[in-house]
Amino acid sequence: MAGAEPLVALEGVAKSFARRLLVQNRSFALSGIDITINRGEVVGILGESGSGKSTVANIITRLTGYDSGRYLFKGRDVATLTRKESFAFKSDVQIVFQDPYGSLNPRATVQSSVMESLLLHKRELGKAERIARAGQLLEEVGLNAAWGDRYPHEFSGGQRQRVAIARALAVEPELLVCDEPLSSLDVSIQAQILELFVRMIRERNLTIVFISHDVNVVRLLCDRVYVMNQGRIVEQGQARDVLSRPQNEYTARLLEAVY
């Protein structure tokens, strides 16, 4: 990767949340973090709830802004992107959320959810091609293309997560951000989705940011890892090294606690 321009570079990005009466949001704030994601890497962001790791996911996908610092995507400061470039950015960066029950439009069939990605970002495709492509994507994530006309509530959590992955992959993103994609699934289904990610990483030229609280999953899946605690990155490095010989006191405590 040496010499190549990183796909994502967060430089001293900070964000705070307005404190409302009786609601303390401070724990999700970020204070001046630096993150670099190179092409083809699977980068883990490990942290407990309130560490700010989901805020990082939202900043990288531009679902939320930041107060200070710089975010360079392919070397461009995203703050300078035009409207059109911002729209194109959305086909480069996609996200899969934790809760498969909430992340699909309940009033759209799963096929139309997948086709929506194509409709918006693959304008050259005709309707028949979109339908065919959506079917292929559903098959690719391990679903039956014939189930396309069903609604999300007819699927289990694991199947919905597969649909969400198909929808994200439909635009052929360069970067896929996964925000705790396994956490709300049953143990046996977690393993299925984990296997799906492993296959996706192998088959597609994907760069992945994998946000998780699960040390063991991060160790298995990620090349590099950032460990976050209370809005700061406390340790970073090769996942293998950091998660076996932690240098930071918090990382060590976390590793010791994990079952």
């Binding site: 199947q159 143990v187 046996s188 393993a191 299925q192 492993v198 160790r219 298995l220 606690a257």
Partner: protein, 331 residues
């Protein structure tokens, strides 16, 4: 991990052939479950969502309003509880002989009452007579110290929302322990907590069990957590009891195919990516009944007989039990 030695005495809790049905519609959700928990034993119950683990324990301890025990025999401290009016009978034990810790530490405390008051109230209720304000306060503070609340004298006058989830769960434990129960039932007590807090709360509980001879039933979806924490594990799937296995044997000795498959799903400290194997298909819901094995449709070893034959029941309440129709995992 040291395992409490199994005394030859009568088990603390014995459940024989428990069948649980919904009150509305009468559908049987859990059938033919038998197990025994010995004094001082830490006993685990594992299952995925829909396995019936929560329904089973909540109904056994009189906390589930929409289901009831329709058949079976439950014996606590040698006394058999009547099937008729079971809920009321077991609730009579709840709060002194049996303590219960629910999953959610955020909704199980009264938000508008100082935590000291909530604990002293529990002590009053357990003792049945007032001990005098000063002595009760001391007892409560001692209890809070024991469950690991820092500066308990200060915490005594604070409200639940001034504490983190882990601290709140400790307070819930303190309330459950204030009644000096013989059996503590903890239903996913750490699921809502962070890893570091989870480990501390579980260890506090195990420590309490060791030092006071408290029997614990720990219910969890996390087989690895149970493997490292408890003595024996009951494995539920589709409302059936498939396996009772010594925790030390999980991953090392042959067990029921579902137990083995479930363990193969879990990324642990030791495993490599190649060691993770998912189970195809989706978990079945509770209410599978007793003809055929609920896991047969996903089982790698399944043969036609697995779909139809009556499921073996744990009639003898042996400590190692496998319901596998092919005899896998039998001791």
């Amino acid at each position: 991990m040291t395992h409490p030695t199994l005394a030859p005495e009568e088990p603390l809790l014995k459940v024989e052939d428990a069948t649980i049905a919904l009150r509305v519609g009468g559908r049987t959700m859990v059938s033919g479950v038998s197990f025994a928990v010995n004094r001082r034993e830490v006993f685990g119950v594992v299952g995925e969502s829909g396995s019936g683990k929560t329904l089973l324990t909540r109904t056994l301890f009189g906390l589930q309003d929409d289901a009831r025990l329709t058949a079976g025999r439950v014996t606590f401290e040698g006394r058999t509880l009547p099937l008729e009016g079971y809920g009321a009978a077991v609730r009579g034990l709840l709060g002194h002989a049996i303590g219960y810790v629910p999953q959610d530490p955020f909704s199980s405390l009264n938000p508008s009452m100082r935590i000291g008051k909530q604990i002293t109230e529990a002590i009053y209720l357990a003792k049945g007579w007032p001990m005098g304000a000063e002595r009760t306060r001391e007892a409560a503070i001692a209890l809070m110290a024991e469950v690991g609340i820092p500066e308990p004298a200060l915490a005594f006058d604070q409200y639940p929302d001034q504490f983190s989830g882990g601290m709140r769960q400790r307070i819930v434990f303190a309330i459950a322990l204030s009644q000096e129960p013989k059996l503590l039932v903890a239903d996913e007590p750490t699921t809502a907590l962070d890893a570091i807090t989870q480990r501390r709360v579980i260890e506090m509980m195990l420590d309490r069990s060791r030092r006071h001879g408290l029997a614990v039933i720990l219910i969890s979806h996390n087989l690895e957590l149970l493997r490292q924490s408890v003595g024996r594990i009951a494995v539920l799937y589709g409302g059936q009891l498939l396996n009772i296995v010594p925790a030390a044997d999980v991953g090392t000795h042959a067990a029921h195919p579902y137990t083995e498959a479930l363990f193969a799903c879990i990324p642990t400290r030791e495993k490599a990516l190649a060691d993770i194997r998912s189970i195809p298909g989706e978990p079945v819901g509770a209410g599978f009944g007793t003809s055929g094995c609920a896991f047969a449709s996903r089982c790698a070893y399944a043969e036609p007989v697995c779909l139809t034959a009556p499921l073996p029941l744990n009639a003898g309440i042996t400590s190692g039990f496998s319901a596998c129709l092919l005899g896998r995992g039998a001791q």
